[in-house]
Amino acid sequence: MTETDTDKKSRKMQSVGRMKEIMTGYYIDAKTAGQTGRKVAWITSGGPVEPLIAMDIIPVYPENYGAMIGASKMGADLCARAEAMGYSSDLCSYARADIASSLIDGGPIGGLPRPDMLVCCNNICGTVLKWYEVQARYYDAPLFILDTPFCHTEYTDEAKKYVRRQIMEYIAFLEEATKKKFDYDRMKEVGRISIEGQRLWQAVLDTAINRPSPMTCFDAFFHLALIVTLRGTPVTVDYYRSLLAEMEQRVADGISAIPNEKYRLLWDNLPIWYRMRWLSEKFAAHDACLVADTYTTAWCMSLRYMDENNFLDSMAEGYTKSYLNIGVDEMIKIVLEMVDKYDVDGFVMHSNRSCKPYSLGQYDIQRAVQRERGIPSVTIESHMVDERSFSESQTETRIDAFMEMIGQKKG
């Protein structure tokens, strides 16, 4: 089926422009914080950002920046620079790209603003510890480390006490860094807004339950930026509310994300930022819509633990039980739930050499999905930012064969 220009136009999402505006405004605020007297904190993507928002500190995410570097295809160059500084090519490419861009004070948007403090939560990986230590030394800024014990199966009482105590230390750290008292009422409000934002984000993702789906995971990768960076702010809530309305309208109007949705797929792991377009066109050419992914879902997965009437306690639990901080058996449960919820025909796993905690266990998950649901899967080996490790013809053969396999099965 060939697509007319009008078809393409109607498929285009209106909210994209608004998102770009918000993100531009956000980065301008962050980059001019020095002049406006606001403080900037660098924080890991899975870190509890809400206390920062409550203290009016601007959160900045080197990982979001890493995604920007990847999408603007600057990853290979920056990674190579980091390697020349002595960092191993096995190190996460977000870390390599971020460290190199600090050194040259360059990259997209001319580099990130200097941090006044850094907040590192190891609920996503151990890499961030060393990465943030390096940056804290480089910028000579204080670093707070929130240590979240790994939850193989449960969040024990000991873990609960341990993390909860650190949340109080985190608050004390922020008071010290800003020389301001922490406002618990404000915190409550920010917590409420954060939960609302996450609920809306989940609702947006859930519109993909519809057949045909109004969005793909490639859209989700784009629209994710706000729930990562500005969780807990009203602008996020407004944005996702209007995005949700747009998605619901598309469903009502029968506008699908891809021209001819025949197969529905689930994506696992981070995006391959520099190949988003190629991948989305490749799958669309096979009439396959990647309707959901484990990655963008991670920013609303903790909703089940969140309680706005007891935000700080529930936040401690929610952040500790993040997707990358639980055992593989728990991950399998989540993946199977998603397979059922979005009713997918296949499972696409990005085996990401950058992100070990995400990629470890994928074969077990794959086996479980195959055993429990009998759907085919495929592995794509790559790096999320470092395009030197992407092989187009290898990836193409895998995807083509995978789609042929699904075609043989489903007809």
């Binding site: 085996s351 074969y363 195959q370 085919p376 899967s377 592995t379 080996e381 490790s389 092989s391 013809s393 290898q394 053969t397 895998r398 083509d400 064969a401 042929e404 396999m405 043989q408 099965k409």
Partner: protein, 255 residues
């Protein structure tokens, strides 16, 4: 119905022609620099050999890494599906296919109806492929065709631990320098290939009967090493190298 399959691999291009499920002929040639040209020339050479004209061929399917460069094919299908179809054609009971070609190796689990249930491929690395063996043959200053029979004479295969082709090559060179027995080194090379492929095969799950296809299947040393590593017997058809092209021709009859 008369159909053709053309398989453009990284090292060789293969063509096969089938008539109502009977193999009329097949041919192998080097791919060389120009994949597009290779497809046409191996196909035309086969037609000449069979004294057939192009118009008698009703349908053509191309496969292999150069599948999209065969512009005169009716359809391009990946080598994974074609190897499944080819192996099923040669033996309808087959459940596992191990295909080792020039630049990649793959293991397929085949459904009882010949469709592919699951597959695994080597990651972007030459370990466990024909290219790996070529590099080793160069290091050993041997002809690759002698590798199989020579390795069968070994009683004590050398240990080659590196997966990386470049490192493994220097390991081999140092084994030569140490004066290790030639047969043992070659047997060690085969074991290294077999161990790489067998872990991939286990991931997919090995069910008998197992068939090996692709150019490397002609190397009896690799086949025996794989049999030992997996604890199964492996059948190799005389059409192993052209199995992908045969599968493509089989599929061509169905589209």
């Amino acid at each position: 119905m008369i159909t053709a399959g053309i398989d453009i691999g990284s090292i060789t291009a293969k063509a096969a022609i089938l008539s109502d499920g009977r193999i009329l002929g097949s041919k192998v040639a080097f791919t060389g620099y120009n994949a597009r040209e290779a497809g046409r020339s191996v196909y035309e050479a086969l037609l000449r050999e069979l004294e057939m004209d192009a118009p008698t061929i009703e349908r053509i399917v191309s496969t292999g890494y150069g599948r999209n460069s065969v512009v005169f094919a009716d359809k391009a299908v990946t080598e994974i599906i074609c190897h499944g179809a080819g192996a099923y054609y040669l033996n309808p009971h087959v459940r596992t296919v191990i295909d080792v070609g020039g630049q990649d190796s793959k293991v397929l689990a085949v459904n009882p109806d010949g469709t592919v249930k699951d597959f695994a491929m080597n990651d972007k690395c030459a370990a466990g492929t024909g290219r790996f063996l070529e590099v080793m043959a160069r290091a050993m200053e041997s002809d690759l065709d002698d590798f199989g029979p020579l390795s069968l004479k070994s009683h004590n295969p050398s240990k080659i631990s590196s997966i990386c082709t470049v490192f493994a090559e220097s390991e081999v060179i140092s084994l030569i320098a140490k004066g290790e027995n030639r047969e043992d080194i070659i047997a060690g090379i085969h074991e290294s290939v077999a161990s790489r492929i067998s872990s991939m095969a286990r991931r997919v799950g090995v069910q008998e009967p197992v068939m090996m296809t692709g150019g490397v299947a002609r190397n009896i040393g690799v086949v025996r090493a794989l049999e030992r590593a997996l604890g199964v017997s492996i059948e190799v058809s005389r059409f192993a190298q052209v199995n992908g092209a045969i599968g493509a021709a089989v599929i061509a009859a169905k589209i």
